[in-house]
């Protein structure tokens, strides 16, 4: 009764969780919120897309993806053999247990009417499934915590998943082990299946089980005489063997039971099997209920993402892209493959912001998409992480869930940039991909963050207000840096400016660019910092090194301009802290 109620409750929570999660795919989006993406429209677009796919040749692609990538996981194999093996163990073991053990009465009995959980091959396969999971988890732990030097982070979700699965498997094996040794279980089953037997024969049967199958009896101890064992064997064959294979076939449980033998009687007396049975049952139900909210949800969402992405070529309808990206957030199982391949992950050593790492960005994107109110500091951190990306797409190629990560970053980036938090990193080639994608951004939205960054980095140029103490020391270092100490050699010949292709582009360059290269060199020696930093020239500098290579005095003009850009940005960051 209670166990049925618990099951129903778990199923209800599971169902509600699925509804909450799936509806979020249609309710929220990663990209800038757009008026035309109403929920009804998105559901309609999704249905249309799915319908169109099933009645086209694309269905063949779906089938191929299902077998090759969902079932066999060929793409994981290509990336890393050990990882593939570990995952196949967990997922193979999990599937075996789910169909042969969890659904035994719902599925197996239809194919095998004589089914009994204690009968081979089920007895053996159940232990094999559990053993596979244990091997897989052990390998996962080895890969995550021992082998790698540059690892992505382990989140609470990862620990929760490992603990939950671990608890189920462990309680299962312990339950099996205590049942093998348990005298009371033996007696209950003997009564049930060998009820007609008289007392001496029952004793012979128990002796046979103690001798051969690891039952620990409180009264019977070996060695037994041959006649008793022969009688027990006959009784076993009549009453038990049809439904019970040797306990040794449950090889893990049996192995665990051996060291338990000395305390088995005491544990049996304390009702350990009852306790473990509930622990096993409830931990399984807990996993079921918690599944949609945990990273184990990926057993549904990752295959879905793989299949959707295999048929959604190019951009797709905007409504469907928004929905797909929400699904993709759930399809991420935080495996860290993206971060291992990330082109800028190394900068994490310089900027300790987890949002730089693709595997860690996903959690922030989830918050952002769900419309959570984030404080400016957090928004800034997410924005920094998501703009600090070369868009090389190596993360997307490596992703075992087939998530189109570069598109995801693009959507989130544009959404964040509309929050009007200045983003100085756009004043660098990090903005290159955004430029290539400008046709996919509204004209106004495209230019706005660039103008804002330029305006804020230049600062207030009207009043030259005194420099603050921190700023003074920082700027004071400029003359002693490797690049800038060549500045004293400058004899004001203007060759740098004359060789600059940007200066040449304008009829009246000073009006557009502010200080020109040679004037910047001047202004540094005169310590006219405000004019230096507010000069547009800095941000229109190509870094082409014409000025530097042409300088007759070997002043590192380009390097100095680079250094000024660094300082211009870092002084703005300093203001924030």
């Amino acid at each position: 009764m209670f166990h049925k109620a618990a099951l129903l409750l778990a199923l209800a929570v599971f169902g509600a969780g699925i509804i909450i999660k799936v509806s979020a795919w249609f309710r929220y989006s990663v990209g800038p919120e757009k008026a035309d993406l109403r929920v009804s429209r998105r559901i309609a677009a999704a249905l249309k897309g799915i319908g169109g796919t099933f009645f086209s040749r694309k269905v063949l692609t779906l089938i191929r993806t299902f077998f090759l990538e969902v079932i066999f996981q060929s793409h994981v194999l290509k990336e890393d053999l050990l990882r593939w093996f570990a995952h196949m163990c967990i997922y193979g073991g999990f599937a075996m247990l789910f169909f042969l053990h969890v659904l035994d009465n719902e599925v197996v009995v239809h194919f095998y009417p004589e089914y009994a959980s204690t009968l081979n091959p089920f007895l053996f396969l159940r232990d094999a499934g559990g053993a596979l999971i244990v091997i897989g988890i052990a390998l996962a732990i080895y890969r995550r915590f021992i082998k790698q030097t540059h690892r992505p982070m382990t989140s609470r979700m990862d620990i929760a998943a490992m603990v939950m699965v671990g608890a189920i498997v462990l309680s299962g094996f312990l339950l099996e082990a205590t049942k093998i040794t348990s005298e009371s279980t033996f007696q209950r089953m003997a009564e049930e299946y060998a009820g007609q037997t008289d007392a001496p024969e029952l004793q012979a049967l128990e002796s046979y089980w103690v001798e051969n199958f690891g039952v620990v009896s409180s009264s019977l101890r070996g060695p037994f005489d041959k006649a008793t064992l022969a009688e027990g064997k006959t009784s076993h064959q009549i009453n038990c063997a049809q439904c019970h294979s040797s306990a040794q076939w449950g090889f893990v449980g049996y192995a665990v039971s051996i060291p338990m033998r000395p305390v088995a009687s005491a544990l049996d007396g304390a009702g350990i099997t009852f306790f473990l049975m509930w622990a096993h049952y409830l931990s399984s139900l807990f996993l079921l209920a918690y599944l949609p909210f945990s990273k184990m949800f990926h057993i549904f969402t990752t295959p879905l993402s793989l299949m959707v992405n295999s048929v959604m070529d190019g951009q797709g309808a905007p409504a469907n892209v928004a929905t797909r990206q929400m699904l993709e957030l759930d399809a991420c199982m935080h495996c860290g493959a993206c971060t291992l391949r990330c082109s800028v992950a190394v900068t994490f050593l310089e900027f300790p912001n987890a949002n730089i790492l693709p595997s860690e960005k996903i959690a922030s994107l989830k918050k952002l998409a769900a419309g959570k109110v984030l404080d400016p500091k957090e928004l800034r951190a997410i924005q920094q992480g998501i703009v600090l990306c070369t868009n090389c797409n190596r993360c997307g190629v490596a992703c075992p869930a087939g998530i189109k990560l570069r598109d995801l970053w693009f959507s989130a980036r544009e959404r964040l940039l509309q929050h009007s938090i200045e983003e100085y990193q756009l004043l660098s080639p990090l903005a290159y991909y955004r430029g290539l994608q400008r046709d996919n951004i509204q004209e106004n939205d495209y230019q706005k963050p660039l103008d804002l960054a330029l305006k804020k980095v230049a600062g207030d140029t009207s009043g030259k207000g005194p420099l603050r103490a921190g700023e003074k020391t920082m700027l004071g270092k400029l003359n002693t840096s490797i690049q800038a100490n060549s500045l004293s050699e400058c004899y004001r010949c203007v060759t740098c400016t004359n060789s600059c292709p940007v200066v040449h582009n304008f009829k009246h360059p000073g009006e557009v660019l502010g200080l020109l290269p040679h004037q910047i060199m001047y202004a540094i020696s005169l310590r006219y910092w405000e004019q230096v930093f507010s000069s547009k020239m800095l941000w229109d500098c190509l870094g082409c090194y014409q000025c530097q290579d042409n300088c007759p005095q070997r002043v590192s003009v380009t390097d100095i301009l680079y250094e000024l850009k660094n300082r211009a940005i870092s002084r703005r960051y300093d203001e924030l802290t």
């Binding site: 082109s343 800028v344 004043l427 080639p429 290159y432 430029g435 940007v502 082409c544 680079y562 660094n566």
Partner: protein, 301 residues
């Protein structure tokens, strides 16, 4: 020495032909290379923002190559120039080297400066040799007038990148002429393509690109050639945009040098990553070399 091919982030943005053509040409010429999957960005985009982050990015790559006992072979001028620049700084300043090594230590890496950095053109010109290339050709781009665009980071700062100390530089021109083409002189040949400002100041970026294209055209070029993904993108995708939005009406095709070389080595167009037909200028100048016949002709004359 075997090299590790250093692939550029930008090729993933619609320049897969650079990857395929350089792979197949290197293989055809027997220049051995491997891929190091752990390589990260050279750090170039970070130079405007944070010099140390840039240096760390470059240094990690150099340390990885060093660990594998390989030299680095880049197929991008910016990767080349910026790795070279980092190498320069790390070699010149022992205090910076120590600082960077302290960070690399947490990744189990160390920079000591044993791996050298090469550019595809350098390997072809200096290691493989122009004459050797000539002997391997099956076809020639007979008289095709090419505007050779070196790209900034292959040339400057001269002492740092050390690709071609000559004034003017000639190595790329030699390679272009080796495949039968004519490297035309043109104004602003060594100037920037405009790419560094793409995404930051698109108008200015297009101004500069437009000027380059007009100059190449004025120099009588039928085609441009480059070896840098940024330049290639600028002269293809951005050129298209300039034609659409501005007063430039003659499109000048730009073809990656390894693609041109590949054609002359007799490699199929599809294998080299040409999506559609060859650009007309290239198609009309591409001829088979028949060594025996040409020799006989000479004798007859």
């Amino acid at each position: 020495m075997k090299t590790a091919l250093f692939r550029c982030c930008i090729t993933s943005m619609g320049l897969s032909q650079y990857e395929t053509s350089s792979n197949v040409v290197l293989r055809e010429l027997g220049i051995e290379f491997v891929d190091i999957n752990d390589f990260n960005c050279c750090g170039y985009p970070l130079r405007n923002l944070n010099f140390r982050a840039y240096l760390l990015s470059s240094a990690r790559n150099l340390a990885l190559a060093e660990q594998a006992g390989l030299d680095i072979l880049t197929v991008c001028n910016c990767c080349y120039g910026n790795l070279k620049y980092a190498e320069h700084v790390l070699k010149e300043s022992s205090s910076t080297r120590e600082e960077i090594n302290a960070s690399l230590k947490s990744l189990g890496l160390k920079y000591s400066g044993t791996a050298s950095i090469k550019h595809l053109l350098g390997v072809l010109h200096d290691d493989f040799g122009v004459e050797t290339i000539r002997k391997r050709l099956k076809k020639t781009l007979d008289g095709l007038r090419i505007a050779t665009h070196y790209g900034c980071h292959l040339l400057r700062p001269k002492e740092v990148v050390g690709f071609d100390y000559g004034f003017p530089p000639v190595k790329f021109d030699n390679l272009v002429e080796a495949i039968g083409a004519v490297s035309v002189p043109w104004v602003g040949k060594y100037d920037c393509c405009g790419s560094p400002l793409w995404g930051v100041n698109d108008e200015l970026s297009m101004d500069l690109t437009r000027k380059k294209l007009a100059n190449a055209h004025q120099g009588g070029a039928e085609c441009l050639t480059v070896t840098c993904p940024f330049c290639q993108m600028q002269f293809s995708k951005i050129q298209k945009r300039i034609i659409e939005t501005r007063d430039l009406n003659t499109a000048l095709p730009c073809v990656l040098y390894p693609q041109l070389l590949g054609l002359c080595l007799g490699i199929d167009r599809e294998v080299l990553g040409f999506e559609e037909e060859l650009p007309e200028a290239v198609r009309t100048h591409l001829r088979d070399i028949e060594p025996e016949a040409s020799h006989a002709d000479e004798q007859a004359v």
